[in-house]
Symmetry: C2
Subunit: 407 residues, 2 copies
């Protein structure tokens, strides 16, 4: 007998019919002798409907009151799923965030979970009940209602799994697992049976939308095995778990990409200590997040300095730099928002040389010019012209033979 | 400075525009120097929408889970109203039933309030905030969500007014007060400036739909002055308060009526002790509530026995009696569901004789036959053929000169 936490997103509970299909899965899991905790999101469209009501009043509704409104979506779903389960003679009981209780900090709209009181859930499980918990929500120490931000239901599920030392946390979604890359770009993309936390974190931060990065961080921190599965089809999905030393690791697990970034280059920057800090502080003070940063070795007392920001912040960042360029002694500011980032991710590259050269060679063979390079221990990212995105991803997927199953 | 509790029902908060109108009233009350606690219902239609979702699953949804679902309606309204108030620079904070907290018994769907913890509300009021509370809901001692049943938002408002010793509890609705009778039947019906608790209780129990009877009982028990006003028009409404000895009481305050009852008559009942009990026990055991009961003095060892039940229960009650008649020694069972009850209500009748004779004389003059009579200290009810309902009400309204203001 295992303890399983299952999380179902908005599309999986969009109608009473779909909620019944969720109940089928829960009951099947229970029939296998497992204890089940279910975390659900609001029925799809509901959160947007509620948000629209609030925005009819003002574009900036009070964060505390917005959380009071938004959390009702999940509250409706837990009640409905519990009624369906009971109607099928499966004992079930629902819990809101305050009932569990899921204690968070007081950061409305983006609260972080501080602790989970598991005593009522344990009591229900020991009485053979299915426990249905509202995702996305909690309460602060004062009893104010908080939300974890969009996608927070994944985090609720992982946090519950960690608090209750569950054997597995299953995230049901509309895709059937984590793929070597986006199958819409590479039809040969292959579902991974297993990927380790570090790789999944890189994939998520590089643009793979399968899981919220916070929930992966949480799962990694508390060593909760996470499985991504489809609500709509059968299958084993993808297990996201600690690195497994028993098996030969694939060299590369996947190719991630995004086209959400824009590049800013400062040419002829005086090459003296502290200037990079001054430039980046200007951007940070404007609440703009910076992703990649590259500075070349300078010549004749000057250097070039390039960094990327989210494409939505491109114009704002460019404006700041153009205004400040004279006072910084910068000769020229250039910007380009037609770029794409492609990344190869794999823990195998720790112990294998030659990944970078395979990558560069494959792109060069297709005539794709590399504008920026950034590496970590388990990933290599390159920035290329946006028009090469699909070609680049297909080229690398093939160069690393990701269409073939390993081990 | 007074402390005012204001309650707004579903039609008063049906849209963002109407919620803004509610905010106008709240802000105006505050501008007069008062402290304000606002109790709101779900936006009209919302409770029915949620109930329909649950009924899509089963006709008998689990009561605990139904309350989890239904309470979200009021939760959305408190958030929206608080956002509107804040957007107009009126400090406001919302509270759900568990946040206040409003402790109830564990009778899901029809819980009763046991106590109210006022410390957070008092703290907010002392910081000059408007406090917005979700009506209709509470939590039991275990933290399970409960509802007070339909119309329970009135009860929430009165209970809060009692707990906080408010100066007045104002119930905003779609009528502008309590009338001498239904103006749809008697165009000359007059809005009462004041009515005492006992009269209002009789009017409510006799079919006047202005206020939930439980909220009037609560207000009477805790001596909370209650005022019924319209959300949509200006005016002083009707004050429902303890009997005021300083002024001459009107003889009759109002004419109530209902056509929800049906009459059952047992003819030739053996006139021996305990038979009335036996008959009524049969009905009570079937969970049917009995209203009026009449037994005539018997002749030759037999008597007749008549009582009324809700019209929805008529067929069920008739079936039980017909089945049991032989064993009870009853000669004949008759039923009539085409009856109406008309009642005159007024504390003034305590000290005035002649009310009954005025009533009988007026009905007789119009040829209206009286089938049953029942009296209490402050009301006289008669049962007549349903077809005489409107004529009877108009006749009595005029006979007691209710179209003229008194004192």
């Amino acid at each position: 007998m295992a303890l399983i936490v299952q999380k179902y997103g908005g599309t999986s509970v969009a109608t009473i019919e779909r909620i019944k299909a969720v109940a089928d899965r829960v009951i099947a899991t229970r029939a296998q002798g497992h204890q089940v905790i279910v975390v659900v999101s609001a029925m799809s469209g509901e959160t947007d409907r509620l948000l629209k009501l609030a925005k009819e009043i003002t574009d900036l509704p009070d964060p505390r009151e917005l959380d009071v409104i938004l959390t009702t979506g999940e509250q409706v779903t837990i009640g409905l799923l519990s009624i369906v389960l009971q109607n099928r003679h499966c004992p079930a009981r629902s819990y809101t965030g305050f009932q569990v209780k899921i204690l968070t900090d007081e950061a409305y709209n983006k609260a972080r979970i501080l602790s989970i009181d598991d005593h009522r859930i344990r009591a229900d499980l020991s009485q053979d009940r299915v426990v249905v918990v509202a995702g996305f929500q909690g309460v602060d120490a004062e009893g104010n209602i908080t939300t974890l931000g969009r996608g927070g239901s994944d985090t609720t599920a992982v946090a519950l799994a960690a608090a209750l030392k569950a054997d597995e946390c299953q995230i049901y979604t509309d895709v059937d697992g984590v793929y070597t890359t986006d199958p819409r770009i590479v039809p040969e993309a292959r579902r991974l049976d297993r990927i380790c936390f570090e790789e999944m974190l890189e994939m998520a931060s590089l643009g793979s939308k399968v899981l919220q990065i916070r929930s992966v961080e949480f799962a990694s921190k508390y060593n909760v095995p996470l499985r991504v599965l489809s609500s709509f089809t059968e299958g084993q999905g993808t297990l996201i778990a600690p690195e497994d030393n028993r098996m030969e690791q694939a060299l590369i697990s996947g190719i991630a990409f995004n086209r959400d970034e824009a590049k800013l280059t400062l040419l002829g920057v005086p090459d003296k200590p502290g200037l990079a800090y001054q430039i980046l502080a200007l951007i940070a003070d404007a609440n703009i997040e910076i992703d990649m940063i590259i500075q070349n070795v300078g010549a004749d007392g000057h250097t070039d300095f390039t960094f990327t920001v989210h494409r939505n912040e491109f114009k704002k960042a460019l404006g700041i730099l153009q205004q400040q360029a004279p006072s910084l002694g910068v000769q020229e500011v250039r910007g380009d928002d037609r770029i794409a980032k492609i990344s190869v991710v794999g823990v195998g590259m720790r112990s294998h040389a030659g990944i970078a050269s395979t990558l560069f060679k494959a792109l060069a063979a297709e005539g794709i010019n590399i504008q920026m390079i950034s590496t970590s221990e388990i990933k290599i990212s390159v920035v290329v012209d946006e028009k090469y995105l699909e070609l680049g991803v297909r080229t690398l997927h093939s160069a690393f033979h990701l269409e073939q199953a390993t081990a």
